[in-house]
C-alpha cells in the first residue's frame, strides 16, 4: 500500500515537473530607433541593455538597435532600456494567447507609480522605441552678469545707502525754505 502511494506521489511529481518544464516561453523583439535625441543607435551597443522586470531578463542591444528578450512567459512584463546616457519610456508588455493558441503582444507606454490603464494606445509590434531625452548631468556655471550682480540684496542695500547719501541732500536743497523750517520744527 505504502509503495503504491509512493508511486502515485512520484507520478504526480513527475507530471508537475513536466508541466513546469514544458511551460512555453516567448521572445520579445524590439528595435531602438534613431530620432532627434539619439541619432546613432550603434553607440548604445556597449552602453545600454533591454531589461525586463528590473533584471529578471536582460538582452544586449545589437548594432542596428534591435534586441530580443528570451524566455518570457505569458503575463505582464515591464520593459525598460537601461542606458547611462539616454532616458527611454517604460513599456508595459502583456503577452497572451488567443483561442487559436497564437501568442499576441500588447505593449503600452506606462509611468511608474501609476495604475496601468488599458485605455492607452497599443504600440506596434515588433516594438519600436525612441529615446525620450539625453541625460544632462551638469549645471552650467554662472558667468559674470551685471543684472545678477545688481539684483544681489547686498548690492540693493548698498544702492539704497548711496542714494540716501548722495540724492537726499540734493532733495533737501531743492525744498522750499519754509517747508524745510516746518519739517525741522516737526522734528523738534
Amino acid at each position: 500500500m505504502l509503495i503504491r502511494l509512493l508511486l502515485i506521489i512520484q507520478s504526480v511529481l513527475i507530471l508537475a515537473a513536466t508541466v513546469l518544464a514544458l511551460e512555453k516561453t516567448y521572445r520579445l523583439r524590439g528595435t531602438i530607433a534613431a530620432n532627434d535625441v539619439l541619432g546613432d543607435v550603434s553607440e548604445l551597443a556597449t552602453r545600454a541593455e533591454a531589461v525586463v522586470n528590473g533584471g529578471e531578463h536582460r538582452a544586449f542591444i545589437q548594432k542596428d538597435g534591435s534586441f530580443v528578450v528570451e524566455n518570457l512567459t505569458l503575463g505582464d512584463w515591464l520593459l525598460e532600456v537601461a542606458s547611462a546616457d539616454y532616458a527611454f519610456p517604460k513599456i508595459h508588455v502583456h503577452i497572451a494567447t488567443s483561442e487559436e493558441g497564437r501568442a499576441s503582444v500588447a505593449a503600452r507606454y506606462v509611468q511608474i507609480g501609476t495604475e496601468w490603464s488599458e485605455d492607452a494606445p497599443v504600440l506596434a509590434y515588433p516594438l519600436k522605441i525612441e529615446a525620450s531625452a539625453k541625460y544632462d548631468f551638469f549645471t552650467p556655471r554662472q558667468g559674470f552678469s551685471i543684472v545678477a550682480m545688481f539684483s544681489n540684496p547686498y548690492m540693493l542695500m548698498v544702492g539704497a545707502s548711496l542714494a540716501a547719501i548722495f540724492i537726499m541732500p540734493k532733495l533737501q536743497a531743492n525744498l522750499d525754505p519754509e517747508t524745510l523750517k516746518e519739517l525741522q520744527n516737526k522734528d523738534e
Binding site: 556597449t46 545589437q62 511608474i112
Partner: protein, 962 residues
C-alpha cells in the same frame, strides 16, 4: 495623471533643498572612475584593422577587448553568468555564458556590438565557430545545436546521451565532435567518449570510447585542431610512457601514432611519468594549421617545458619542437604568429622569453609579495614589436616590451574583486607652523625666548607659504601630492580594498593613484579577504603609523594581516585556527600596540569570540574597558533563528572569550533570513536629538546603536522586516510586505543611518521597485521622551515608527547614506543602480512624514512637501554622471574635515569615487571666487582712501573759510 506628475516634479524641484549639482569642469576632477574587468580566465591576442587587441574572458563574467598599446578598454560587456566558451575568429568574438541557462553571443570584435545571440534553457558546456562561416556549434545541457545568425531556431539539434559529461567541441570540415568524460563503472575505467555528428544535418555518425584512464581536465590530454591535417587528441595513459595520437573519427586503427619519444627525446621513463601536457592554442583561431602544445617535466631536479607543433610530412604525422624553456612556475602562451612566450619567476619578479619565431627576452621587476606569482601570460604584437602581458595571481595585468623592465601599462584587476573597503583619514601636510608647534614644545625647546622667536619665524614662513600657494585657502586639489599625503580638508584619504583574490590594495580617494599592494596567502593559497579595518588612525605629527588590517578565509583558517597604512609594510600576520561567522571591531584598544581590537565570532557547539591581536592581554583589555559585550550569530542568509550571546570575561588566559547564550530570536514558521543590516561605522551619530515641527514642538529621535534589521522571506509569499535590539534580542517593530519578491534578480538592499531605515525591494507589477522608509521616534507625541532613567537596551521603550513607501526609479543593487563630520548636514541616500548610476536622493524626498495632501502651514514650516509616490531620476543628482559603474555591490561614505562635504565610493566590479555636498557648499568659497580680485579691490579701496583723504581735508578747510 501626467499633469499631476509634472506638477509634483515641479513642486519638488521648487521645494527640495538644492543639492549642488555637478559643474561640467568638476567631472573627472572631484571624482574618478575605473572600469574593471576582473581577473582573466583566458587572454586571446588578435589584431583588427592594424590595432592590436587582447580579448579577455574573466572570473567576473566579463568579456572585454583591451588595447595592447595602452591597456585601455576598447569595449566590455558584463554577461549573465560564468563564461563557458570564448573564442575569437574572423573579426568576431564568441561567448557562451549563464548559470542555469546559457546564452550564445557573437560580438563584433572591433566595436563590441552584438551581432546575434541565441538562448538555450540549460547550462552551457562549450561553443565553437564553424570554420569558413558565421555559424556556431554549441553544447548546452546534453543538447548539441547548430546556430546560424539571424535565425531564431537552431539549424539542427541533437540530444546527446548522458553517458558522458561533454565539455569540448571540435569542428573539422563536415564533422562535429563532442568529447566528454565517461565516468568509471564496474565494467569500465574512466575514459573519454567521442560523438561524431554530421555538421550539415546534425545526424549522428559515430560514437566511441577512447583514451582509457584519461580525463579532459588534468594535464594528460590535449586536443589539437588543424585546418589542414584534421583534429587530433594526444594523451599518455597513467603509468605508461607511451604517447598516443588519435585522429578524431578514426577508430580503426584507434591511434595514428604512438611513441615514447614523441615530444622530447631526452626524457627518461621516470621523468616521463610525472610530465603533463597543456594546449597552447587555447583558441583554434590562433594557429590554423600547425597546432601547438607544451610538455612540462622535471629532469635532474629542474623543471622544463617544451613547446611542440604538429605537422605532417607527406603521409606521416610528426611533432616538431618549437622552443624549450626553464619552466619552474612558468606561464606559457602562444601568439597568432609562430612565436611562443614563457614567463618564469625570478628573485626580482619575472623573466620572459619569446621563442619559436622571433627571439626576444626581458625582465619584469616587481615585488611578488605585492601582486603574487605569475598566473597567465599572453603574447601580442603591436606592429612587429612584441608585448608580453603578464597576469599575476592577485589579478594585476602588466604589459612588457623588450628593453625595459618597467611595465608599459598596468591594470589592477584585483579591484574588480573587492569585497570590502576602508577609508583611512590621512594626516594633513605639516605646515611650517605645525612643525614649529612641535619644535617649540617645552620638552624640545626649554628656553621660552627661543620658543617665542621660533613661533614668529614659523608664522612668517606660513604667510610666505600661503602667498606662494596663490592664497590657496579653498583648494583641496593638490595632484602633486603622493597618495599617502593628506590635505587640510580631508578630501584626500586612503581607500584600502580587500579582494577575494588575496589582494590588499591602497589607492588615493582623490584620484585613484596607487599607493601600495600586498598579496595575502596562506601557504600557496590566496586568502579570500572579506573585511578591512582601520585599527589605528592617523595622528598629526605622531610617530605611530596608522594601521590597516585585512581579514579573510583560507581553507580552515582565518588569516589576519596588519599593514602600515602609509607604506604597506606588513606589521604582523596571524593565522587563527578558526572559521569565523562574523568579524567586527571591538570597543577597546590593545594595550601593547594601541590598535583597536577586532573580534571574530565563532559559531558552533561552543560559541566564542576570538580577539585580535591574539594575546590574552588584548582579551583582558576588552574585559577591563567595556560594558558587557553582546554578539549575535546566525544572521546569515538562510538562517531561521538569530542567537544573541553575552561575552564572558571570567579567568581570561587565552586570546578568546567564551560566549554565553543571552537571547534567541526565532523567526516565525516558514520564514528564512535573507539579509541582516546594522549601522555602518558611525552612521548612528546625530547632531540633533529631535525633529523640530512647524509648531516648534519636538519629536525626539529614537537612536539605538544596537538596532538591527532582519529581512526574511516568507513561505506564504512576500517578505517581513524586523527591527530588533541586538543586545536584548527584543523585537522593536515589524512590517510585512506581502507582495514583495526577493531573488537573485531582485535583491533586498537596505541602509540604516541615524533614526532612519531605507530599504528597497521588488513588489511586482505595476508598482515595480518600492523604496520603503521607516523613521523611528521615541514617541508619537511631540515633546515626549523616553522615560527610562538610564540609556540601556534593556530598558528602552518601543519606538514609534513612521513609515512611507515610494516607487523607486530603477533597480538598486546597493544603498548607502552620506556621512559628514558632525552629522549637521542633511544626509543623502545613495542608490547604486543596476544601470550603473550612483544616485543621491535628498533626505527630504524620502521623508516618511510628507503629508498626503497639500502641506499645512506648520508642515511647510517644517520643510515638508506633499507626498508623491514616484522618486524622480533627476540626472543632476546622478553623482556618477556619464559613467556606467558596473556591478555596484557596495556604496560607502566617509566624512571630510568640511561639514558640508562627504566622500562617496561605489564599488563591486567598477570603482567610482566622488564627493558630494547634500546641503550645498555652505562652508567653502566657490571655485570661481577670485581671491586676487578681493585683494586688488581691498588695495584699491585703501588707495582710494589715501588719495581721497587730502581732497576731503581741502574741501573741509575751504568750507570752514567760506
Amino acid at each position: 495623471m501626467l499633469a499631476r506628475l509634472a506638477l509634483t516634479a515641479l513642486t519638488l524641484a521648487a521645494c527640495l533643498p538644492g543639492a549642488r549639482a555637478l559643474f561640467p569642469d568638476e567631472a573627472g576632477r572631484i571624482d574618478w572612475y575605473r572600469a574593471q574587468i576582473g581577473a582573466p580566465t583566458a587572454l586571446i591576442p588578435h589584431t583588427h584593422n592594424h590595432t592590436a587587441l587582447l580579448y579577455a574572458a574573466t572570473q567576473r563574467n566579463v568579456v572585454a577587448a583591451l588595447r595592447a598599446a595602452d591597456g585601455q578598454l576598447a569595449w566590455r560587456h558584463v554577461l549573465d553568468g560564468p563564461i563557458s566558451a570564448f573564442s575569437v575568429r574572423d573579426a568576431r568574438v564568441l561567448t557562451q555564458s549563464g548559470a542555469n541557462h546559457s546564452h550564445v553571443h557573437v560580438w563584433d570584435a572591433a566595436s563590441g556590438g552584438l551581432e546575434w545571440s541565441f538562448a538555450q534553457p540549460a547550462p552551457g558546456r562549450g561553443a565553437v565557430f564553424v570554420r569558413d562561416c558565421a555559424d556556431v556549434i554549441a553544447l548546452a545541457g546534453d543538447a548539441l545545436v547548430r546556430l546560424a545568425p539571424g535565425s531564431s531556431e537552431p539549424v539542427w539539434e541533437l540530444p546527446l546521451n548522458r553517458t558522458a559529461a561533454y565539455s569540448r567541441i571540435v569542428v573539422h570540415n563536415d564533422a562535429v565532435f563532442a568529447i566528454g568524460d565517461a565516468p568509471q563503472t564496474r565494467s569500465a575505467k574512466r575514459r573519454l567518449h567521442v560523438v561524431q555528428v554530421d555538421a550539415a544535418t546534425g545526424a549522428l555518425r559515430k560514437q566511441y570510447d577512447t583514451a582509457e584512464g584519461i580525463a579532459l581536465r588534468g594535464g594528460s590530454v590535449v586536443v589539437l585542431e588543424s585546418r589542414e591535417y584534421g583534429a587530433y587528441m594526444v594523451w599518455r595513459e597513467p603509468e605508461n610512457i607511451v604517447w598516443y595520437v588519435h585522429r578524431l573519427g578514426l577508430t580503426a586503427p584507434m591511434w595514428e601514432l604512438y611513441h615514447a619519444k614523441l615530444v622530447e627525446i631526452e626524457l627518461m621513463p621516470p621523468d616521463m611519468l610525472t610530465s603533463t601536457i597543456a594546449e597552447l592554442d587555447i583558441d583554434a583561431g590562433l594557429n590554423d594549421n600547425t597546432p601547438r602544445f607544451s610538455l612540462s617535466y622535471s629532469k635532474d631536479g629542474k623543471s622544463k617545458s617544451v613547446v611542440v607543433e604538429m605537422f605532417r610530412d607527406g603521409d606521416r604525422l610528426e611533432m616538431r619542437k618549437v622552443a624549450s624553456f626553464l619552466a619552474d612556475g612558468s606561464a606559457i602562451a602562444a601568439s597568432p604568429r609562430r612565436s611562443v612566450v614563457a614567463v618564469r619567476p625570478t628573485d626580482t619578479g619575472a623573466a620572459w622569453r619569446v621563442r619559436g619565431g622571433d627571439k626576444h627576452a626581458g625582465d619584469y621587476t616587481y615585488a611578488r609579495s605585492a601582486y603574487g606569482p605569475v598566473a597567465r601570460a599572453a603574447l601580442v604584437y603591436v606592429g612587429d614589436e612584441p608585448r608580453v602581458v603578464v597576469q599575476t595571481r592577485s589579478g594585476q595585468l602588466a604589459a612588457l616590451r623588450p628593453g625595459s623592465s618597467e611595465p608599459l601599462w598596468t591594470r589592477n584587476e584585483a579591484l574588480g574583486h573587492a569585497a570590502d573597503m576602508a577609508f583611512l583619514t590621512l594626516p594633513p601636510p605639516a605646515s611650517a607652523a605645525e612643525h614649529a608647534a612641535k619644535e617649540t614644545d617645552s620638552s624640545v625647546q626649554p628656553s621660552p625666548v627661543a620658543r617665542y622667536i621660533l613661533r614668529w619665524v614659523a608664522t612668517g614662513r606660513a604667510l610666505v607659504e600661503w602667498v606662494a600657494a596663490g592664497f590657496g585657502i579653498a583648494s583641496g586639489d593638490r595632484p602633486a601630492l603622493a597618495p599617502t599625503e593628506g590635505d587640510h580638508f580631508g578630501f584626500r584619504k586612503l581607500a584600502v580594498f580587500g579582494a577575494s583574490t588575496g589582494a590588499v590594495t591602497a589607492v588615493s580617494s582623490q584620484d585613484g593613484a596607487h599607493a601600495w599592494s600586498h598579496y595575502l596567502t596562506h601557504g600557496r593559497t590566496p586568502v579570500r579577504i572579506e573585511r578591512v579595518f582601520v585599527t589605528r588612525s592617523s595622528q598629526a605629527l605622531s610617530t605611530d603609523a596608522p594601521v590597516i588590517v585585512a581579514a579573510g578565509r583560507a581553507r580552515n583558517a582565518t588569516v589576519v594581516a596588519a599593514f602600515d597604512a602609509l607604506t604597506g609594510r606588513v606589521l604582523s600576520e596571524d593565522t587563527l585556527p578558526l572559521i569565523y561567522a562574523r568579524a567586527f571591531e571591538l570597543p577597546a584598544t590593545d594595550p601593547a600596540t594601541g590598535q583597536r581590537l577586532l573580534g571574530f565570532a565563532v559559531a558552533g557547539a561552543e560559541p566564542r569570540v576570538a580577539v585580535w591581536p591574539p594575546t590574552a592581554d588584548a582579551a583582558r583589555a576588552l574585559c577591563a574597558h567595556t560594558a558587557p559585550l553582546y554578539v549575535e550569530l546566525g544572521d546569515q542568509a538562510g538562517s531561521t533563528a538569530v542567537h544573541g550571546y553575552r561575552v564572558a570575561c571570567a579567568d581570561v588566559t587565552e586570546p578568546w572569550l567564551a560566549a554565553e547564550p543571552a537571547w534567541e530570536f526565532v523567526l516565525p514558521a516558514g520564514e528564512t533570513l535573507i539579509s541582516a543590516t546594522r549601522y555602518e561605522h558611525g552612521a548612528q551619530h546625530t547632531a540633533l536629538q529631535g525633529r523640530v515641527l512647524g509648531d516648534r514642538s519636538v519629536l525626539y529621535k529614537y537612536i539605538n546603536p544596537h538596532l538591527g534589521v532582519l529581512a526574511t522571506q516568507r513561505a506564504a509569499g512576500g517578505i517581513a522586516v524586523y527591527l530588533i535590539d541586538r543586545v536584548s534580542g527584543r523585537l522593536l517593530h515589524s512590517v510585512v510586505h506581502e507582495q514583495a519578491v526577493v531573488s537573485r534578480a531582485h535583491p533586498f538592499v537596505a541602509t540604516l543611518s541615524e533614526n532612519r531605515l531605507v530599504y528597497q525591494f521588488w513588489r511586482g507589477l505595476p508598482a515595480g521597485y518600492v523604496t520603503a522608509v521607516a523613521e523611528l521616534f521615541e514617541s508619537d507625541r511631540p515633546d515626549t521622551r523616553n522615560e527610562s532613567p538610564a540609556v540601556s537596551s534593556l530598558d528602552l521603550q518601543l519606538p514609534s515608527v513612521v513609515m512611507a513607501a515610494f516607487v523607486a526609479p530603477e533597480a538598486a543593487t546597493a544603498l548607502g547614506t552620506t556621512r559628514t563630520g558632525s552629522s549637521i548636514t542633511t544626509r543623502d541616500v545613495l542608490f547604486g543602480l543596476a544601470s550603473g548610476k550612483l544616485l543621491a536622493l535628498p533626505d527630504a524626498l524620502l521623508d516618511p512624514r510628507r503629508p498626503m495632501g497639500a502641506p499645512t502651514k506648520d508642515e511647510q514650516a517644517e520643510g515638508l512637501v506633499a507626498y508623491a509616490a514616484p522618486l524622480p531620476l533627476d540626472p543632476r543628482r546622478v553623482l556618477s554622471h556619464g559613467h556606467a559603474v558596473a556591478g555596484i555591490a557596495h556604496v560607502r561614505s566617509a566624512p571630510t574635515h568640511l561639514e558640508s562635504t562627504a566622500l562617496v565610493a561605489a564599488f563591486g566590479l567598477d570603482v567610482f569615487f566622488s564627493r558630494t555636498s547634500p546641503s550645498g557648499l555652505f562652508d567653502q568659497l566657490s571655485p570661481t571666487f577670485s581671491k586676487a580680485n578681493l585683494v586688488i579691490t581691498s588695495l584699491a579701496l585703501v588707495a582710494g582712501c589715501l588719495l581721497g583723504a587730502p581732497m576731503v581735508r581741502r574741501k573741509l578747510t575751504t568750507r570752514a573759510w567760506a
